[in-house]
């Protein structure tokens, strides 16, 4: 928080508002297209999940076959929804925290469009049968250089803004966002160059792919999510972060531990023997940054019970933080090499773990951030309390069910797999009920995101509410959220000096 702003609170609010306005085109684009990709991904995921228990469903064409729809679903989720939501939040957050308006919105917007074009071609490529067969990297090989260039065009301005920021203390969220901005290109470039461009040993290539999947989750999505949460929780509750020491611990433990994780997915494969065990140990230790960050932020918000019920931002963020807590616990539970790793390694629980991180934590926090940021950049408030509530309820129930079914079902599947005397037909039946449950849960999530996408598109079309009163989930104002005198505002700017 900069100390040199001797401005009045009004001028400070004006600065923040002007930062928001300068970013409105790229950030709104990122959010809306991310939400569109989320809907696409969930739809594809639903079909894929249906095929795991009813393989004759939609079995007419090649592009609908499970082996192509599932990678299309995952890649759309990761690069279409996840990356773009992250970019929108990163760019906005860095701008705000560096107190610099964005002068390169045009370039960022163009890069966003090119990113979208590239992943569209990529998804079509996968569905047409040109997938590369490397999990999370199935896009045909022409896509990744384009993505890398787009990323550079998006992120470099934020780094510049950080460099020219006014003197002063760097806030917690900036560490995480800067970290993510450094880690993502390093991880992305490493994996793609080593797997696409340089000849190497086939099994080690699979190992590096496993490392990439873990690193993308733990060193890009998780830090962006935690960074956003470290901003949103104190902002909305008005209370200081419970413990600055815990914040430092949560960041540096993530930075030190996460790069070692990932190879445990290849336990038993012929790669240097210690690598999977190092990966398993590191993944277990990820519980530390996850639990510490979640506890820190949850205790910050713990006394603000009413606010959590009212504010969509806070509700989603707190739900996401609970997801982070569960993620940390699951990290430990699924990766114990003597007991649970052999029975979770080749099962649905790996998918469930990824979804817990990507949706149960990251996406819920991103939803919270989007509900916070969009009114500020469009200068309109959200249209409908009900749409937000539906989104929240269906999302949380949906992801809760998915995580429960896939992780528990995966372990059951693993136990059945290890019964070596059992014929395979018997073993395959173990996963069947959980597959059905998962499809059912995806329906919930699809439903929730239809509400979200519609709502966001209406905001994008400038159809939001003109008001100075935020859309809260509980009606506290005489039956109308518009205030006693309708749309006319009679509340002046806040009187508190803010960031």
């Amino acid at each position: 928080m900069s100390q040199d702003t001797s401005n009045t609170p009004e001028k400070d609010a004006i600065l923040r508002a002007s930062i928001d306005r300068s970013l409105r085109h790229p950030v709104m684009f990122f959010f809306t297209s991310a939400a569109a990709w989320l809907a696409v991904s969930i739809f594809l995921g639903l079909i894929a999940s249906a095929k795991t228990h009813s393989p004759t469903f939609l079995s007419c064409a090649g592009w609908l076959s499970y082996g192509r729809i599932f990678p299309a679903h995952v890649n759309a989720l990761v690069y279409g929804w996840g990356a773009q939501a992250a970019f929108g939040v990163m760019v906005w957050l860095m701008s705000r925290l560096s107190r610099q308006t964005c002068r390169n919105s045009g370039i960022i917007l163009t890069a966003g469009h090119v990113w979208n074009l590239a992943i569209s071609l990529g998804v079509v490529g996968i569905l047409s049968g040109f997938g590369t067969g490397m999990p999370w990297m199935e896009f045909p090989s022409f896509v990744w250089p384009v993505l890398f260039l787009c990323y550079t065009a998006i992120a470099v301005w934020s780094v510049v803004q950080f460099k020219v920021r006014p003197e002063g203390h760097t806030y917690i969220s900036q560490w995480y966002i800067l970290g993510a901005m450094v880690w993502f290109p390093w991880v992305f470039l490493t994996a793609n160059i080593l797997l696409h461009c340089l000849p190497g040993h086939p099994v080690m290539a699979a190992g590096i792919n496993a490392w990439y999947r873990s690193a993308l989750l733990l060193l890009f999505f998780v830090p962006v999510g935690i960074g956003a949460a470290y901003y949103l929780v104190p902002k909305v509750t008005g209370r200081a972060i419970a413990s600055y020491t815990l914040a430092k611990i949560s960041f540096w433990s993530l930075a030190i531990i996460a790069p070692w994780a990932g190879m445990q997915k290849l336990t038993g494969a012929p790669i240097p023997y210690f690598l999977p065990y190092l990966g398993a140990a590191a993944t277990i230790l990820i519980a530390i940054p996850a639990i510490v960050a979640a506890v820190n932020l949850l205790s910050t918000a713990s006394q603000a019970g009413e606010l959590i019920t009212n504010s969509p931002t806070l509700r989603f963020t707190i739900a996401g933080l609970i997801g982070l807590l569960i993620f940390g616990i699951v990290c430990v539970l699924l990766n114990l090499p003597e007991s649970t790793l052999p029975i979770s390694q080749f099962t649905l629980s790996g998918y469930g773990f990824d979804l817990l991180g990507l949706y149960g934590f990251f996406s819920l926090v991103m939803f919270g951030a989007i509900y916070f940021i969009v009114p500020r950049i469009t200068r309109r408030e959200w249209l409908s309390r009900r749409l937000i509530k539906m989104h929240f309820i269906f999302s949380t129930y949906g992801i809760g069910f998915i995580v429960l079914f896939t992780i528990f079902g995966g372990l059951q599947q693993g136990i059945a797999q290890e019964q070596f005397n059992s014929p395979w037909e018997q073993v395959a039946k173990a996963a069947f009920p959980y597959a059905i449950g998962t499809t059912f849960a995806w329906c919930f999530i699809l439903f929730s995101n239809v509400f979200f996408f519609v709502h966001l598109t209406l905001m994008w079309l400038r159809l939001g509410r003109r008001s100075s009163h935020p859309t809260l989930l509980i009606d506290a104002h005489h039956g109308s959220p518009h205030g006693p005198e309708g749309d006319i505002d009679n509340a002046g700017p806040g009187t508190v000096h803010v960031h």
Partner: protein
């Protein structure tokens, strides 16, 4: 913490792990030294190297590179693995037909773990992500010995890809149908060697296309139970008298 120390810390913490876990193993495994077969100790066939040394080189016949690309593009790795884990990592070796053949006809148990030379000619080892279906390391043997017993393995496999649920004991199989890898062609004269679902009225049949042929060739080549040199032979300690003379290791 200053901005400078922050970035240094970031780079150091990531860079160390990146080097030790990604870069170094990548380059080391790229230059994996072939195992030189020792006279009298290793009774396996290998390839001939410089100075007439023999080194361990498991042979694989079939259209591996093309087939592997079709395998990858159609997502087979999402449900099938190709790794037999050592006993400290799983029970794969105990199954009778995954790790090899329990009885190869001569009473010899050929089952073994996957080793680093089992993925020759492939760019990316399709270790696999889940086991919704069985492991494929020795699918070639399994098809020949169990599934297609007595008949042409390729024919059985084409039929299976066309309709995995055809056989009575496979009703509950969740394998998708790969009908889209077959072309419907008009039949003039005799049926081609591999033709399925002949329709007498329309005089058409389903014939495997190039992708299907490559995939079947690849899948039938999956036989990873060849004899291995002593350093890769992890069988339980044998009595001195018997065949593969693994040097008695202290356990």
């Amino acid at each position: 913490m200053t901005s400078r120390s922050f970035f240094l810390g970031l780079i150091a913490s990531f860079g160390l792990a990146w080097l030790l876990v990604v870069v170094v193993p990548f380059f080391k495994m790229r230059d994996l030294k072939p195992i030189v077969l020792k006279e009298g100790v290793d009774t396996v066939e290998g390839a001939t190297g410089p100075e007439n040394t023999q080194f361990y080189f498991p042979k694989r016949t079939g259209r591996i590179a093309n087939g592997a690309a079709v395998y990858a593009a159609n997502g087979c790795y999402l449900c099938h693995t190709q790794v037999i884990r050592p006993t400290y990592a799983g029970n794969d070796t105990f199954r009778s037909d995954w790790a090899g053949r329990k009885d190869n006809g001569d009473g010899v148990d050929t089952r073994r773990e996957t080793n680093a030379w089992d993925f020759q000619y492939e760019k990316f080892a399709q270790i696999g992500t889940t086991r919704l279906g069985p492991d494929f390391s020795n699918l070639g043997h399994r098809i020949e010995d169990e599934y297609a017993k007595g008949s042409d393995p390729a024919r059985w496999l084409y039929q299976h890809l066309l309709d995995p649920r055809l056989e009575v004991d496979r009703e509950s199989s969740k394998c998708p149908s790969f009908r889209y890898l077959f072309d419907e062609v008009k039949i003039q004269g005799n049926l081609p060697e591999y033709a399925f679902n002949y329709n007498a009225k329309k005089k058409t049949a389903l014939v495997p296309d190039a992708d299907a042929k490559a995939l079947v060739s690849y899948l039938l080549s999956l036989k990873k139970d060849d004899a291995v040199p002593a350093v890769l032979s992890f069988g339980p300690k044998k009595e001195a008298a018997t065949a593969s003379a693994a040097p008695a290791k202290k356990n």
